[in-house]
C-alpha cells in the first residue's frame, strides 16, 4: 500500500464577510495530513476553528463562511472543486463524519436499520438481500447488544451511548477510509465515554482507517490519537505526538491548557489561563496568544511566529525554549477546606422525590402501583462552611435533589431542615424571605439562566432589591462591589448577557447568587458549559469566595476531578440512591463502593499512559430496581441474590466515611488493592 496521505489540507484559510464588508478569517493557513492508520487529535477552546477544519475536510463550509485560500485534497480529489454529485458519492462513503450529538443527527422517524440501508444503497454495491446481514454485522461491530433488535428500533428508543454507536456504524457502513469525529463523546457519561473511545481506538486499528478527532477534552484525545494538533484563534500553533504534546509541550498555550485541567489524583486547584482569544480579524500582527502569554516579549507583539520544527513538536512560538518556565503540573492554590464542626447548615432527612404522578384512573380506583421513587431516602448533613459534592451519572438524581432543596420540585417524603433545625417549607412560595435569601441556586448554562433582556445591573439589582431593599444609587454601588468580587469591573454594569463571553456570563450568575449574601449556594453543573481554561478560573473564584465568606456549597457535577477540587465531602449517587459518602480525599484515594470504583476507573486522564479501567457495562438503566441494591445490575463485584433482594446496609469505613454495600468494607478494599497489583 502506498504511504501518501489520504487527506491533505494545504494552507487553508476560511473566513466570513462582516457587516463592514471586510472578510474576517476564522481559519488561518491551516495544514494537515492524514494517512491510513493514523489518528490525529485536534484540540482547542471554543471558537478556535477546530470544527471548521473537519467540516472543510469534507469540502463543506457552514453558512456564511467562504474559502479564502488553500485546498483540500482527499484521495486525489480537490474537495472544493467537486460537483454536488461527486461530493455526495464521497461524503458518508469514503469520508464520514460522526457529529457531537447523534441523537439529533439520526433521523427520528426512521428505524436504525432503515437508515443504515440508505447508506448501504448509496455507497456500496451490495444487493437487496445482503443488506440485513451487513447491518447486523455493522451493529455487532460497534458492540451493540442484540443487533437484530436494535435495527428495528427508532433512535429515541436507544440511550445516548447506543445512539452514538449507531452513528459510528453508519459511518462505517460506507467503508470509510477517513473518519472525522466532532466531539463524539461530549455530553455522554464518563463510563459510556470511556467505552466509546475504546471502541473507536480498536476500530481504527482493525480497519486501518485514518481518523481526525476534534475535542476540547485532552483525556479523550490521549486515548485515541497518535498525534495532536493544538489550535488557537484559527491557527495551528502546535503539532506533535500525543505523548509529547500532553506531557511536555513547548508551546506556552498548551502548557497553560494542561495546567488548567483539574486532575483526579491531585487535590490542588487547576491554574486558570486568564483572558480570551482574539475575535476573528483582531489577532493583530504579532502572535495571537500574546495577550495571555506569561513569557511574551516585544517581539511577540510585532512579529507573527511561523511554524518551526523543535524537539518539542512543530510549533508557533518565538520563545519556546523558555516555555518550561510555565508549569504544567500546576502551581495551583490549595483548596480551602472547611473546619470540622458540629454546627449544621443543611440537613436532608430521608428525602424522597418522585416524578411519577398517579394517573386519573389509578387515583379514581385507588390502585396502588409500586413505582420506585426517582430519588429515595437521602439523608445528608452539611456542616457549616462545608462544600458537599454530589456525583453520579445522568439520571442519578443529583440535579433533582438540588432543585428540591431550592423549593422548585415537590418532595414526596422526608424533609429539608436548615441549620437551626427548622424545617424548610417544601415549596418556594411558602418560604420566608430570610430562608429564601440564605439559599441560592446557580444553573448550568448562563445563557439560559440570565434573562437576555436584562443588563448586568438589572440582573444584580433583583436580589438586592428583593432581599435588602437596595435600589438606585445604593444598589448600584453594591452591585459594582459584588462584580469586583467575581473579578469583573463596574464597567460591566450596562452590558447585556449577549455582550459577554461564556465565562463572564457565569461570573455574573455567580455574582447574582452572592448578591443575596447566602449561607448555602447550590451549584448545578456550573462549569460544564465552559472551556477548561475558563472552568479553572471559575473553580478558583468559588474557592476564593468560600475562603472569604465561609459559604456552604452543594456542588453537583459529572466531572469527578472538578468535584474533588472543590469539595470537602463527596456523596456518590446511583439511580437516586446514596452509595457512598465521605471526605473527598478518602473517597478519591481509596474508593470503597463498587460504583465509585467504576466511576473513578472510567475517568480519562490527559496522559496517554493511563488507561481507564472499564469495570462495568455502560448500560443505561431507566428506572431503579424495585428491590435490593440499586447497582445490582451493573455491579462488577456482585455477590448474588442477596444484592437483588436485600437493601445493602450502611457500613462505616473511617470517621465520617460511609458506604452502602453487602460486601464487608475490608473485603472491598482488599479486592481493590489486589486488582491494582
Amino acid at each position: 500500500m502506498n504511504n501518501s496521505p489520504l487527506l491533505q489540507i494545504d494552507r487553508i484559510s476560511i473566513g466570513f464577510r462582516a457587516s463592514t464588508g471586510q472578510i474576517l478569517p476564522v481559519l488561518r493557513d491551516v495544514s494537515l495530513q492524514l494517512s491510513r492508520g493514523q489518528s490525529l487529535g485536534i484540540v482547542g477552546e471554543s471558537g478556535s476553528g477546530k470544527s471548521t477544519v473537519v467540516l472543510a475536510a469534507m469540502g463543506f463550509l457552514k453558512h456564511g463562511l467562504q474559502l479564502i485560500s488553500g485546498s483540500v485534497s482527499f484521495d486525489g480529489n480537490n474537495m472544493f472543486e467537486l460537483s454536488g454529485k461527486e461530493l455526495e458519492k464521497l461524503r458518508g462513503g469514503k469520508i464520514a463524519l460522526i457529529p457531537q450529538n447523534s441523537g439529533q443527527s439520526l433521523t427520528p422517524s426512521l428505524k436504525i436499520g432503515t437508515q443504515l440501508t440508505e447508506v448501504l444503497k448509496l455507497h456500496t454495491g451490495l444487493s437487496n438481500d445482503q443488506y440485513m446481514d451487513r447491518i447486523i454485522e455493522l451493529l455487532g461491530l460497534v458492540r451493540l447488544p442484540d443487533p437484530e433488535a436494535i435495527a428495528k428500533r427508532y433512535p429515541h428508543e436507544l440511550s445516548g451511548g447506543q445512539q452514538q454507536r449507531a452513528a459510528i456504524a453508519m459511518a462505517l457502513a460506507g467503508d470509510a477510509d477517513v473518519l472525522l469525529l466532532d466531539e463524539p463523546t461530549t455530553g455522554l457519561d464518563v463510563t459510556t465515554q470511556a467505552h466509546i473511545l475504546e471502541l473507536l481506538r480498536d476500530l481504527s486499528i482493525e480497519r486501518n482507517m485514518a481518523m481526525a478527532y476534534v475535542s476540547h477534552d485532552l483525556g479523550a484525545i490521549a486515548r485515541v490519537c497518535d498525534n495532536v494538533m493544538v489550535m488557537y484563534a484559527g491557527e495551528a500553533i502546535l503539532e506533535g505526538s500525543t505523548r509529547q504534546v500532553l506531557t511536555s509541550p513547548f508551546h506556552p498555550y498548551a502548557r497553560g491548557l494542561l495546567a488548567s485541567i483539574p486532575k483526579l489524583n491531585d487535590p490542588r486547584l487547576p491554574v486558570a489561563l486568564d483572558g480570551r482569544p482574539p475575535a476573528p480579524g483582531l489577532a493583530g500582527e504579532g502572535c495571537a496568544f500574546v495577550s495571555r502569554c506569561a513569557i511574551a516579549s516585544d517581539r511577540c507583539h510585532r512579529e507573527h511566529p511561523e511554524m518551526q520544527a523543535t524537539p518539542g513538536g512543530t510549533l508557533r512560538c518565538h520563545h519556546y525554549k523558555d516555555s518550561e518556565r510555565i508549569s504544567i503540573t500546576g502551581t495551583g492554590a490549595q483548596p480551602a477546606r472547611a473546619q470540622a464542626t458540629d454546627q449544621m447548615s443543611l440537613v436532608l432527612d430521608s428525602l424522597s422525590i418522585s416524578y411519577h404522578i398517579p394517573s386519573f384512573f389509578d387515583s379514581l380506583f385507588g390502585a396502588k402501583q409500586e413505582i420506585p421513587n426517582t430519588v429515595d431516602d437521602i439523608s445528608v448533613k452539611v456542616t457549616k462552611g462545608e462544600t458537599l459534592g454530589l456525583v453520579g451519572e445522568s439520571g442519578s438524581g443529583k440535579s433533582t435533589i438540588l432543585k428540591t432543596v431550592a423549593g422548585l420540585l415537590p418532595l414526596r417524603s422526608g424533609s429539608v431542615k436548615t441549620g437551626d433545625g427548622k424545617e424548610l417549607p417544601p415549596r418556594v412560595e411558602h418560604r420566608e424571605s430570610r430562608q429564601l435569601q440564605s439559599i441560592q441556586l446557580i444553573f448550568q448554562n448562563p445563557d439560559e439562566s440570565l434573562n437576555p433582556r436584562h443588563t448586568v445591573a438589572q440582573i444584580l439589582g433583583q436580589p438586592l432589591g428583593l432581599y435588602f431593599g437596595l435600589r438606585g444609587k445604593e444598589g448600584e454601588a453594591r452591585s459594582i462591589e459584588i462584580l469586583r468580587r467575581v473579578r469583573l469591573g463596574g464597567h460591566y454594569m450596562d452590558r447585556l448577557p449577549s455582550q459577554l463571553s461564556g465565562g463572564e456570563k457565569q461570573r455574573v450568575a455567580i455574582a447574582r447568587a452572592f448578591a443575596a449574601n447566602p449561607e448555602l449556594v447550590l451549584c448545578d453543573e456550573i462549569t460544564s458549559a465552559l472551556d477548561v481554561s475558563v472552568q479553572a478560573a471559575v473553580i478558583d473564584l468559588l474557592n476564593e469566595l468560600k475562603k472569604e465568606h465561609g459559604t456552604n456549597f452543594i456542588f453537583v457535577s459529572h466531572d469527578l476531578a472538578v468535584v474533588r477540587a472543590l469539595s470537602d465531602r463527596v456523596a456518590v449517587l446511583y439511580q437516586g440512591r446514596l452509595c457512598e459518602i465521605g471526605p473527598s480525599d478518602q473517597v478519591y484515594a481509596l474508593p470503597s463502593h463498587p460504583y465509585t470504583e467504576v466511576l473513578l476507573g472510567a475517568v480519562l486522564e490527559p496522559d496517554p499512559d493511563v488507561a481507564p479501567k472499564l469495570l462495568a457495562e455502560d448500560v443505561v438503566e431507566l428506572s431503579p430496581p424495585a428491590r435490593g441494591c440499586p447497582f445490582q445490575r451493573r455491579c462488577p463485584r456482585r455477590l448474588g441474590s442477596v444484592c437483588d433482594n436485600q437493601e445493602p446496609p450502611w457500613q462505616q469505613s473511617e470517621d465520617r466515611h460511609f458506604i452502602r454495600c453487602h460486601i464487608p468494607i475490608e473485603e472491598l478494599h482488599g479486592a481493590q488493592v489486589e486488582d491494582a497489583a
Binding site: L436, F443, S449, L450, P463
Partner: protein, 296 residues
C-alpha cells in the same frame, strides 16, 4: 467615572426601539417595507390637502373615461376622478385597522399569556375552545356580527379587534410556555420573587417581541379583511372613497375600463407587501426569526 458608561440598552426602552428601527432599515427588504409603509401613512395624512379634485365632484359628461392628462387614472361611472379617490381610499382602512390592531394584540396577548401561565388541563381545555372558534370561516363570523349590529366604524373596530385577537392568544400562549420553561424564570422563582414581578420583569419583555411581530402581521391581514368587507358592501359606505369599495364599484366595467380597479389594487397590495416586509425585518432585528439558508 468609567463605571457609569452609557449603554443604549439601559438608557430607555425607547432607545432600544430606535436601534431596532435602524436594524430594520439596514436590511434591503426592511428598508423597502419601511419606505412603503411610511409613504402610505404620509399619503393618508396629507391626501386631503393635495388631491387634484374633490372626491365627491361628479362630472356627468365625462364618465368612465380613460387615463388622460386631466384624470391620470381616468374617471369612474359617476365621472369622479379616480386618482383623487385612490389617494384618499386608504384613510378609512388605516384608521380602522390602526385602532383595531393594537386592541387585538393587547387583549389576545393578555389572554394568551394568562392561559400560558395557568397551564395544565384548564389551559388545554380553553385552547380547544379557541381552536373550535378558529375553525369557523372568519368572514361568516364577522358578517353575523355586522348584520346584527350594523356596519360603521363603531361596530367594525371592535369586531375586527375581537376576531383578530383570537389567533394572537395562540401565539402569546406558545411564547409564554417557551419563556416559562427557561432557567431564568426558575431562578427568579427560586429567589422568591412575587408572581407579579416575575411576569412583568422576566416574562413580558421576552414575550413582547413576539407579540410585536405578530401585531405587524395581524395588521396586514386585517387590512385585507377590511377591504374585503368593503368589497362585499359591509365596510365603508359610499360616497366615502375606499379601495375595497372602489374595486367593487368598478367591477361591472372591468372589461372596458380596467383602470378603475387597477389603482386601488396596486395601492392596497403595496401597503400589505410593505407591512409584511417590515414585519419580516422586525422579526430579524429582534432575533425572533433565526431562519437561515438550509445547509444543503
Amino acid at each position: 467615572m468609567a463605571d457609569q458608561a452609557v449603554n443604549p440598552a439601559r438608557t430607555a426602552s425607547s432607545m432600544r426601539w430606535l436601534i431596532v428601527l435602524k436594524d430594520i432599515w439596514a436590511r434591503p427588504s426592511g428598508a423597502i417595507g419601511l419606505s412603503i409603509v411610511t409613504f402610505h401613512i404620509l399619503l393618508a395624512v396629507l391626501s386631503p390637502l393635495i388631491t387634484p379634485y374633490d372626491y365627491r365632484e361628479i362630472d356627468a359628461f365625462n364618465i368612465l373615461s380613460g387615463p388622460s392628462a386631466a384624470h391620470w387614472f381616468g374617471t369612474d361611472d359617476l365621472g369622479r376622478d379616480i386618482f383623487s379617490r385612490m389617494m384618499l381610499g386608504g384613510r378609512e382602512a388605516l384608521i380602522v385597522t390602526g385602532i383595531a390592531t393594537p386592541i387585538a394584540v393587547l387583549w389576545g396577548g393578555f389572554v394568551g399569556i394568562l392561559f400560558g401561565l395557568i397551564g395544565g388541563r384548564i389551559d388545554e381545555f380553553l385552547m380547544r375552545i379557541v381552536d373550535a372558534f378558529l375553525s369557523l370561516p372568519w368572514i361568516l363570523k364577522m358578517l353575523v356580527l355586522i348584520v346584527t349590529f350594523g356596519s360603521g366604524n363603531a361596530v367594525l373596530i371592535p369586531t375586527l379587534a375581537f376576531f383578530y385577537g383570537i389567533p394572537v392568544i395562540r401565539i402569546a400562549r406558545a411564547a409564554t410556555h417557551d419563556v416559562v420553561a427557561r432557567d431564568f424564570v426558575s431562578a427568579a422563582k427560586a429567589r422568591g420573587h412575587p408572581r407579579f414581578s416575575i411576569i412583568s420583569r422576566e416574562l413580558l419583555p421576552n414575550v413582547m417581541d413576539t407579540l410585536m411581530v405578530e401585531g405587524a402581521m395581524r395588521w396586514s391581514w386585517m387590512l385585507l379583511a377590511f377591504s374585503s368587507l368593503s368589497f362585499l358592501g359591509f365596510g365603508v359606505s359610499p360616497p366615502t372613497p375606499d379601495w375595497g369599495l372602489m374595486i367593487k364599484e368598478t367591477r361591472a366595467y372591468l372589461t372596458f375600463a380596467p383602470w378603475g380597479a387597477l389603482g386601488p389594487v396596486i395601492l392596497l397590495s403595496s401597503l400589505i407587501i410593505g407591512i409584511n416586509l417590515t414585519a419580516d425585518g422586525l422579526a430579524k432585528a429582534l432575533g425572533i426569526d433565526r431562519a437561515q439558508k438550509a445547509p444543503v
